[in-house]
């Protein structure tokens, strides 16, 4: 540890002006002494005239900071110049005169020093007093705390006025109520001036007088109540000095109590004048500061209460809770004494909360009706009787309607018996609170509407005969209607949270997520439509359902999902199966006897095995029998073909479409007599993915259809085009009578024949177009009709292009 020296003493040295005074004193002393030495050298002896100049140095010293001491020291310094000569004159006749001279000279210098120091002290005190007043003014102006300022004023006023005590009566800048400050020892006391009305309130009387006055000889009977004079302190006399503001208004009343010596007089007013002027300025400034400070603090409290209340209001949809919170916040931010908040709840009920007051239902109704008429938040003075009042004698009321988008929910009413209780800030804060409450009540209304709408939709969903369930983005079931419960055997609460595959009885096990159509459709939001979907119920029974799963839109932070609608088609499916099997069996069983009949008929017509030739009439009957047998056989063949078509799988392979169509056209040209068959094809070959035999069947059905209905001599046109991307379109156009619009939608149905007036003339079973639709669909295409009555028909179907055909299509 280093023992470094501590810093030297840091007391300030005297200012430069004190140096100048010392220089002046020393120079004066030196000059005086020099003059005295010079006079001595000139032979003046001990009686020097120049020694009177020492008085000048004494006077200068007397006016210095140390005053009397410096002056006496200077006097002694000059007087001491004679002492050596006195010592030298010891035991000589000159001793006595020298001693007398020295004493006289020393006395003169000493008296001069004393008088000069006294005068200097007086002047310095006077200067210090004036400086102190200036300093006091600066100090008071720098003091902005009312309490601190009051304490300073009271101490100084009591000192200046030589009083035993002092009081300061001044209005509170916040509420305007007069208060009295006084000092009890070092502690500042404060009390309201108003009160104790049964006795004469001297403080209030002084304020009412508002002028300077002196009261002496006050009786000691305790009739006068001056706040804060202190218990046991008897008031004999007082001096009241009003402090006026710049506008002449009474800012405060400074009161001096019980003069220490003598009685208060006009001189005390003069002594207090400087202090009173500075005090008035300081009080005015402190009042503004206190008012501003209070306003800011009040504003911060209001904002904090509003923020807290806004959070509470946003967090609830209970109207009663909203009203309670609004009432508490309104009282906190306004400072009112009583209050009422009423609001209309969803459903028409009125909820309310009263604060420190009892209200009747009629009161609430009247107040709420007045809120509907109030255009905006407003302060209602005491003399306005048009509005309802909670207090018997209200000083000021503050009302804010709770209103949003033109709808008035209720009102906030706050009252106080003070006429200036609510400022503009309180009005704005309560208005802001009313806005918050209106939003909360509107949210309550919207929430109740949502609840009502949800209840409705739940009822609608519950009443749907089809099974409906919703699936989340993760494949878990979210909602389940009763029909779904009945269909799947799961209860809604059990199904919620389970995978849809489990609920629908998917048999794919762990591969479900990868292979199930529903699960695969979830990420992409695709629609899934299945005419026949095998559903395994919870108890293991299988049902056939038609399934339509539509994606739920994602957005606003919500993940997508599916709405799955299922209809139990098990009975229809079984019936259709039975129908198909019956028809197939019937056709198969019919064809065998028909073939035998047909063979027998042909043999009879050919005369084989007959002993006698048949007559013409018998031949005609046999021919008719053969024709009808062939017709019935054709029908049976169609039925069998239909069954095969529905059952057997096609063998799809790349085929040259144009080549096939040329072959078919060539075949048909050979058998057609009355129609012109044309083919329009692209110059390059078109490769499609199809089954050759099935394609033949489709085109045979369409060309056969055209030849049946088109008038003889009209052309039948076959076209191939590549307009649709990825597909080749084959069209068969005729100039026939066309198909009525009402029949076009069902023209591809099984056993359906359009009623164009010739249905009975043209033979058919209503199966050709049905088979064509089924076959085209199996090959991955679509078939449609474009027809207009009297203008012919155009049957077109598409076939998917192979990669080769697709390349050529793109190349073209």
């Amino acid at each position: 540890m280093s023992a470094a020296p501590l810093p030297a003493r840091a007391s300030p040295r005297p200012p430069a002006r004190h140096d100048l005074a010392l220089v002046l004193l020393l120079a004066c002393a030196s000059l005086v002494l020099a003059a005295m030495v010079f006079e001595t050298r000139q032979g003046a002896g001990s009686t020097l005239a120049s020694r009177w100049l020492a008085l000048l140095a004494v006077l200068i010293a007397a006016y210095s900071r140390r005053g009397l001491a410096a002056a006496l020291l200077t006097a002694a310094f000059f007087a001491s110049s004679l002492t050596p000569a006195l010592a030298a004159a010891w035991n000589t006749p000159a001793f006595r005169p020298l001693l007398t001279d020295l004493l006289a000279y020393g006395l003169l210098l000493g008296v001069t020093a004393y008088l000069a120091a006294s005068v200097a002290s007086f002047l310095r005190t006077r200067e210090a007093l004036s400086g102190a007043v200036r300093d006091w003014g600066a100090l008071l102006e720098a003091t902005v705390e009312r309490e601190e300022l009051a304490a300073l004023l009271l101490r100084q006023a009591a000192a200046v006025g030589q009083a035993r005590g002092a009081a300061l009566l001044t209005p509170n800048p916040v509420d305007g109520q007069w208060e009295a400050f006084s000092l009890q020892g070092e502690a500042l006391q404060r009390a309201p001036v108003a009160g104790q009305a049964r006795k004469l309130n001297l403080a209030q009387w002084l304020i009412d007088q508002g002028r300077p006055q002196i009261l002496d000889g006050l009786p000691d009977d305790r009739r006068f109540i001056l706040p804060l004079t202190g218990a046991g302190q008897v008031l004999h006399s007082l001096l009241a000095q009003p402090l006026a503001g710049r506008d002449g208004s009474l800012l405060a009343m400074m009161v001096l109590l019980n003069r220490q010596t003598g009685a208060f007089g006009q001189a005390d007013f003069a002594a207090l004048a400087g202090l009173a002027e500075a005090a008035a300025t300081a009080l005015e400034q402190a009042g503004r500061y206190a008012a501003t400070d209070h306003t800011l603090a009040r504003r911060v409290e209001q904002l904090a209460a509003l923020q807290r209340s806004a959070r509470e209001l946003n967090a609830t949809v209970d109207p009663q809770a909203i009203v309670d919170e609004t009432m508490a916040c309104a009282m906190a931010i306004s400072g009112g004494q009583v209050g009422l908040v009423s609001a209309e709840a969803p459903g028409g009920d009125v909820v309310y909360r009263a604060w420190n007051v009892q209200v009747e239902s009629d009161t609430i109704r009247r107040a709420t009706s007045l809120a509907h008429d109030a255009p905006h938040p407003l302060r209602i003075p005491a003399d306005d009787d048009s509005f309802y009042s909670l207090l018997p004698r209200p000083g000021l009321r503050l009302m804010a309607p709770i209103r949003r988008t033109g709808h008035t929910f209720g009102l906030i009413l706050v009252e106080s018996d003070q006429p200036r209780a609510f400022g503009e800030e309180a009005l704005r804060a309560v208005a802001s609170l009313a806005d918050h409450a209106a939003v909360a009540l509107d949210n309550t209304r919207l929430f109740s509407e949502i609840v009502r709408e949800k209840r409705k939709s739940d009822e609608v969903i519950a009443s749907i005969a089809d099974a409906l369930l919703t699936v989340g983005h993760d494949g878990q079931v979210m909602a389940f209607n009763p029909a779904a419960e009945a269909l799947t055997g799961w209860r809604a609460e059990e199904a919620a949270g389970h995978l849809v595959c489990d609920v629908l009885g998917c048999q794919r096990g762990g591969l479900c997520r990868e292979s199930c159509h529903l699960m695969r459709a979830l990420p992409g939001g695709q629609r899934v439509v299945e005419a026949e979907w095998t559903l395994r119920q919870r108890l293991g029974t299988q049902r056939m359902v038609a399934l339509d799963a539509s994606p739920l839109p994602a957005g606003d932070g919500q993940e997508g999902g599916l709405v799955v609608l299922m209809r139990d088609v098990t009975e229809a499916w079984e019936l259709e199966q039975m129908q198909g099997e019956l028809i197939a069996a019937f056709s198969h069983e019919l064809r065998t006897p028909l073939s035998i009949i047909n063979t027998a008929t042909e043999m009879l017509l050919a005369g084989e095995g007959a002993s006698n030739s048949i007559s013409d009439h018998e031949a005609m009957l046999l021919a008719t029998l053969q024709a009808q047998t062939e017709r019935l056989t054709g029908f049976a063949d169609r039925i069998v073909a239909l069954a095969r078509t529905e059952e057997q799988a096609l063998e799809l392979m790349p085929l040259p479409l144009a080549y096939l169509l040329e072959d078919i056209v060539a075949h048909w040209r050979g058998s057609l007599a009355g129609h012109m068959l044309r083919l329009s094809r692209p110059p390059a070959e078109v490769w499609v993915l199809a089954d050759a035999r099935a394609l033949h069947g489709v085109l045979d059905a369409l060309i056969d259809n055209a030849t049946k209905y088109a008038p003889p001599g009209t052309p039948i046109e076959l076209t191939i085009d590549l307009q649709l991307p990825g597909f080749a379109t084959v069209a068969v156009c005729d100039r026939g009578p066309g198909i009525p619009v009402q029949s076009q939608a069902r023209i591809f149905d099984r056993f359906y024949r359009a009623d164009a007036g010739d249905a009975q003339r043209v033979y058919g079973h209503g199966l050709g177009l049905y088979l064509a639709r089924v076959t085209v669909a199996q090959m991955g295409g679509q078939i449609w009709l474009e027809s207009e009555a009297g203008c012919g028909s155009r049957f077109a179907f598409t076939l998917p292009l192979t990669m080769e055909g697709l390349d050529e299509d793109l190349g073209d």
């Binding site: 030297a8 003493r9 430069a16 220089v23 001990s46």
Partner: protein
């Protein structure tokens, strides 16, 4: 571990109490050293006068003894424990010191010093040689002050408001000197002092301002004052008394050295004590050693014709 006490922006060292006590002990030792040195020097001169009353070199002994005392103690105090003392007092400084010693040796060994220079005898000396004394000592002090400003400032050698300080000191010395002249002039039996030659005034001025007066102030108003009153504790009047008494002891040695008469010794002690008190007050008031130096120098200009100081 407790944090050191924080007072506003000042961090008080945790060992401040020990440091304060050490510094107080150090100051007490310094004050005792000064007392012992001055008393010892005076006692040596007194014993010498008593044993060898006719020995002619007491003034030279006074110069060597008290010159060393006045200068060595303050410089020892300043330089003690300092780093880089050799660098601060490099060859130039040493050369200055050697030159100063040569000048003093040349002066004191000159032939007319065989008799003591009392009685107002004129001094025939080359003024330029005397001017060289302060011209050598003040730069040395300045060099030390630059190297170690804080301890030198503790002795009172500060440049702040130097003009007013010098003026106040000079006027104080002037007033005191004129008071002495006036007092002497008012005694009818006493012959008025003769007007001194210019060379003698120059010698007194340089001798006091560059060597003895300056050294005396460094020791008494510098080192002793700092040892007694640097912490501001105690009575200032007691400090004035103590320093004045010590100064009177040194003046007694001077009176013995110059073999002054009883009356002259009384005059010397009276006015020397007064001057010591005034210089101490000025040192305290002005926080500087300059007023005291100026007062001593100017007063000696007035007093030399009387006492041949």
């Amino acid at each position: 571990m407790a944090k050191p006490l924080q007072l506003l922006e000042i961090t008080v060292r945790p060992d401040w109490r020990e440091l304060t006590q050490q510094a107080a002990v150090q100051r007490l030792r310094t004050w005792r050293a000064v007392q012992i040195a001055v008393a010892g020097g005076t006692l040596a001169l007194a014993l010498g006068r008593l044993v060898f009353p006719s020995w002619p070199w007491y003034d030279l002994l006074y110069l060597a003894l008290f010159g060393s005392l006045f200068w060595m103690l303050p410089l020892w105090k300043v330089l003690r424990g300092q780093q880089n003392v050799a660098a601060a007092l490099d060859r130039t400084g040493v050369a200055y010191l050697l030159l100063l010693a040569a000048i003093l040796l040349a002066y004191v060994t000159r032939p007319d010093l065989s008799a003591p220079p009392a009685g107002g005898a004129p001094v025939s000396l080359v003024p330029l040689l005397a001017v060289a004394i302060p011209a050598l000592t003040w730069p040395i002090l300045r060099r030390i002050r630059r190297a170690f400003p804080l301890p030198v400032a503790g002795l009172g050698l500060v440049g702040e408001r130097w003009a007013s300080n010098l003026l106040i000191g000079a006027l104080a010395g002037c007033a005191l000197g004129l008071h002495l002249l006036l007092a002497v002039s008012l005694i009818p039996d006493l012959a008025p002092p003769a007007r001194p030659p210019l060379a003698a005034l120059v010698w007194v001025l340089c001798y006091q301002a560059g060597l003895m007066g300056l050294g005396q102030e460094l020791l008494l108003r510098g080192l002793a004052y700092e040892a007694l009153f640097s912490d501001g504790s105690g009575s200032f009047a007691a400090v004035v008394v103590k320093i004045t008494l010590l100064n009177l002891l040194a003046l007694l040695a001077l009176a013995l050295a110059i073999d002054a008469t009883l009356l002259a010794a009384l005059w010397l002690l009276a006015y020397g004590g007064l001057l010591a008190a005034v210089a101490t007050v000025l040192r305290h008031r002005q926080r500087s050693l300059l007023p005291g130096i100026a007062a001593v120098v100017v007063f000696n200009l007035f007093a030399w014709p009387l006492f041949a100081l």
